[in-house]
């Protein structure tokens, strides 16, 4: 009994060890390590029992381990990205898998005819059966490996989507060939084949339909669970699993069912459920998925250590390996070539290589292999062994070499030329320009179907499936604003605690020390630059002996070179990335991994601020602040303009700027609580007390006081730069992080992914312009 418990617990404990060692996992994917651990464990058990008591039985695998992983994948799927590339994904999933199966089976059979494998009693049909179980790319393995290798969105979704959707094909093929094998060769005629093809459609669409139904059911349920919030999360899991079982019961594709269930319910669940429940679902799902994955891989390792199943046939095994790899490459390249003729954004060569190389087989293949009937297929053990070896090869070897391969390929293609600063800058500028033009010209396009779907979805589905209160909150901007305020508030508090006191800002002021703040290199160089002007070097460089002029010259030259290097370095580090470069990241174990969000947030804030400024100065000039403040109090029902008015008031302080340039430099100050710094601009005492009644803005009480104090002391340079989460940030206009890609569903769970940037979605920033006019004296 204890042993049985142990077999499940040990792998999980091991996972902790692995997580702790990031070095190792960046080289060797976790899945590989887990398999090795499984070997060791299997060896121990074998040593103890002389027989392998634990193997990965199909029942346990298919009913208890796999569903969670797939549910997690479906729930966190970036829907928009997925459906945009659906065509490509389907082509690869269906045609690619069929091609893999057929080619593998036929080639192996051909080789047997040719005598390469010695004496084997396997008929053509059995080869095809083997081919069909070998063909499927495994989602578990794919995720595990791609977590390490960061690839661009499209590539990721292609491989990931393919691995999920090919289950439909695999199940059909497997069952069809299984039936054929039972029937025997002669009885197969056209009718049977047609039945097989029809069954594909039935299984695939039926499975998806079941999933969809359950997804809708979940959404409806969460709409009504306002009073039982504690058990809300449970419904997701229960109904998700139910969809899996139902599909399985109806002999439809269970994986497709649970995937679509997850995909369908994402949005509504997040909208309807209470935040705590949403968090619970997130965490629990990740925990289950992680756990299952770990156990799966460890068991894959353990199952190998079993003398009973090992049958070695060099020819068979090696040929299988070879064919699996080769046909995968051929299949992917050919299909992508066809697809590229029709795609607007073609898949590049590097991407295709990664796609082919990333076609990993995993536990699903093994599970299917073990499910083979020994009576019908005499060489079952050989097949099982081969499957295991292929799995190990792909997961371990391909997993380990994937990253170096990618780096090698990408590095090879990158141009290595010495570029000037202006070139670098302009290059970035080009990138941004291109992205902007794509946005303006509508890369995704005024898509007829998509707008029809959106119309349908907004007016009908949301109406039925979402709580009325949630529907109101679907005003994207408000929701994002709210979420981000929360996030800011939380981060601010943790930051404060980290620095040791609630009033850490005040404490910070007492240790303004020029030396102390130069912890980062850039500051050092900054000192160097500044001191060049003043003729003294900072403590990080050797002091210039005033005696020797030559040395001074040399050091100056070195400094200038350092300046050059530094300028390049600065540019490299700090240039905003263009949207194309914001990579999609999916991780089994981490939640907030896409730190590019911060950049986007920053840019967004600045843009909004600039727009407001130009709007202000264009229309109204700088008005007395009192008026502005008074007016914002009138508009309490709309949070956004509130935040904006505040902003406007603040920015109109930093000088009467209308142009972007001045505002940019004034921005420096205003970003960091300009109005509360004596040096920055006009302080309006009337302004500050007015903040308190604004309870929406949730200024922590301790901070309100400290602001007044800190207004007397200039914030230390470091505090200015290192404190992104000052209270003013909370108050400030909306880090309105509206995502242009639903990949955000991976990182910002709480933000509905309908925040697409079609032009009709985002209301133009100054809708409250008319009311404001009234408010002015």
């Amino acid at each position: 009994m204890i042993k049985e418990k142990k077999k499940y617990i040990l792998p999980l404990a091991n996972r902790e060890v692995i997580e702790a060692n990031h070095h190792v996992t960046s080289v060797i994917p976790e899945s590989a390590l887990l398999i090795c651990f499984g070997f060791i464990l299997g060896g121990m058990i074998w040593g103890a029992d002389k027989v392998q008591t634990f193997t990965l039985t199909p029942t346990v695998f298919f009913y208890f381990l796999l569903p969670q992983v797939i549910l997690d994948a479906g729930y966190h799927m970036p829907n928009k990205l997925f459906f945009t590339n659906l065509g490509g994904i389907l082509v690869h999933a269906v045609i690619g898998t069929c091609w893999n199966a057929a080619s593998l089976g036929l080639s192996l059979w051909g080789c047997q005819m040719g005598g390469a494998m010695g004496d084997l009693d396997i008929g053509l049909l059995q080869y095809l059966l083997f081919g069909s179980l070998m063909a499927a790319v495994d989602p578990v393995a794919v995720i595990a490996v791609f977590e390490q290798v960061h690839v661009n969105d499209v590539l990721f979704i292609m491989v990931f989507g393919e691995s999920l959707l090919n289950d439909g094909v695999t199940v059909v093929l497997f069952n069809v060939f299984d039936a054929f094998v039972s029937l025997g060769g002669p009885k197969i005629d056209a009718a049977e084949i047609i039945k097989g093809i029809v069954s594909f459609f039935v299984v695939a669409f039926g499975g998806s339909l079941v999933g969809l139904v359950f997804g809708l059911l979940i959404s409806l349920l969460t709409r009504c669970t306002k009073n039982i919030q504690i058990i809300e999360p449970g419904f997701i899991f229960v109904l998700g699993y139910l969809s899996y079982l139902t599909a399985e019961m109806l002999s439809l594709s269970a994986i497709l069912s649970i995937v679509f269930c997850g995909m369908c319910c994402q949005k509504y669940v997040r909208a309807n459920m209470d935040e705590n429940s949403v968090q619970t679902v997130r965490y629990a799902m990740k925990a289950f998925a992680n756990g299952s994955e770990t156990i799966i891989f460890v068991f894959l390792g353990i199952s190998a250590i079993d003398k009973v199943i090992w049958v070695w046939n060099t020819g068979f095994i090696l040929l299988t390996l070879l064919f699996v790899l080769v046909y995968r490459f051929i299949g992917v390249f050919f299909l992508t070539w066809i697809l590229n003729r029709f795609r607007l954004v073609p898949l590049e060569f590097v991407d295709q290589v990664i796609m082919s190389y990333g076609g990993l087989r995993g536990a699903v293949a093994y599970g299917l292999a073990v499910m083979l009937d020994e009576n019908k297929i005499k060489e079952k053990n050989l097949m099982v062994c081969t499957t295991l070896i292929v799995v190990y090869f792909t997961v371990i070897l391909q997993g380990i070499t994937m990253k170096p391969l990618v780096m090698w390929l990408k590095v090879k293609r990158a141009a290595v030329t010495e570029v000037s600063l202006l070139e670098k800058l302009t290059n970035k500028m080009f990138n941004h320009t291109l992205v902007a033009i794509e946005d303006i010209s509508g890369q995704i396009g005024h898509n007829y179907m998509r707008s029809k779907w959106k119309y349908f979805e907004e007016n009908w589905m949301s109406w039925i499936l979402m709580k009325p209160s949630a529907r109101k909150k679907q005003d994207q901007l408000f929701d994002v604003f709210h979420q981000l305020n929360l996030k800011d508030a939380m981060e601010y508090v943790t930051e404060g605690e980290r620095r040791g006191s609630l009033e850490f800002v005040r404490n910070e002021n007492s240790i303004i020390d020029f030396k102390k703040k130069s912890e980062s290199e850039s500051f050092d160089i900054n000192n160097a630059n500044m001191s060049n002007d003043h003729g003294a070097m900072s403590n990080t460089r050797d002091p210039i002996p005033s005696v020797s002029l030559e040395m001074h010259e040399q050091t100056m030259k070195a400094v200038r070179e350092a300046e050059a290097i530094n300028a390049h370095h600065l540019l490299d580090q700090h240039l905003y990335k263009s949207r194309k470069q914001h990579r999609h990241r999916f991780s089994r174990s981490h939640f907030d991994i896409n730190r590019d969000e911060k950049e986007v947030q920053e840019i967004f804030q600045r843009t909004m601020r600039n727009r407001l400024e130009s709007f202000t100065s264009a229309k109204m000039g700088v008005k007395p602040p009192k008026t502005i403040v008074k007016h914002t109090q009138k508009e309490q029902q709309q949070k956004m303009p509130n935040g904006k008015s505040m902003d406007k008031a603040k920015t109109s302080y930093s000088g009467d700027e209308g142009s972007e340039g001045d505002s940019a430099s004034g921005y420096d100050q205003s970003y960091m609580r300009a109005t509360y710094r004596a040096g920055a601009g006009i302080e309006n005492p009337a302004f500050m007390p007015d903040l308190d009644p604004m309870d929406l803005l949730q200024i922590p009480p301790w901070l309100a006081e400290s602001e007044l104090d800190s207004s007397m002391v200039a914030l230390s340079h470091r505090a200015q730069v290192d404190l992104p989460r000052t209270p003013s940030n909370l108050r400030r206009l909306a880090p309105l992080r509206i995502s242009t890609r639903s990949t955000d569903s991976f990182t910002l769970e709480n933000i509905p992914d309908t925040q697409q940037m079609d032009s009709d979605q985002l209301p133009p920033p100054p809708p409250p312009r008319p009311p404001r006019d009234d408010g002015y004296v």
Binding site: N85, L86, G87, G88, V91, L339, F342, L344, V345, S420, L422, E423, L425, M429, H432, T433, L434, V435, A436, I437, E438, D439, I440, S441, G442, H446, N447, Y448, S522, I525, N526, E563, N566, A567, L570, L571, H574, L575, R579, E602, I603, F604, T607, M608, N610, E660, G661, A664, D668, H717, V721, P724, I738, T740, M757, S759, D760, L762, P764, P765
Partner: protein
Amino acid sequence: MDQTGFSSAHLLRLYDRFECLDRDNRGYLSPNDFEAVGGLAMNPIGGRIIDAFFSSGQDTVDFSSFVRILAHFRPTDRNRNKEGTQQELPNSRTRKLKFAFQLYDLDRDGKISREELLQVLRAMLGLQVTKEQLQSIAERAIQEADLDKDDAISFDEFKKVLGFFLLQSQSLVPDRMKRIPPLRMILALTCSGVLPSLVHLSPSTETMMEVRPKSRDRIIRALQVCRT
């Protein structure tokens, strides 16, 4: 059409987009309409791009100007040299560079002054970069590029610095415009991830007219404008 080099199919699609952006159906675009495109808000130089569409003094963009600006971003035809009209095509390399130059040069005086460079840097760099650092970068950039020592970068100096670079890169061609899929294949569109309205599939305006009579007139007008 000949001016811009767009095919009629492409124009149709652009008109569709123009209509979509023009929410009040006024027949022209104002800065508000551009600002409504969400992606621009997240673009550090979004504001400048928007300004680039509006020639000085005006605050509306009609369809022909819209198309003309976008024409800058078509792939450069490398084999048109013999006609000698290379300079005039909107998508020639020079014109593209000029467009980029104008993004820097806000006051349109033909030179990028240090101030303007500073502004660009401020816009494109993260907030951690201090003013002094910005200044040093701007300083160096001007040093590197400024050949006639007037403390500003003129268009020729700009071209010289970037000439080689542009030769290598894809020269300001957004992915979307690299390929125009064969419009006849509906299947193709499924795979391409873009499903333009079935209406706009047909290359000929006649077929289109059958399907969408109510907007026919506007499109005809737009095309006429373009053909001039």
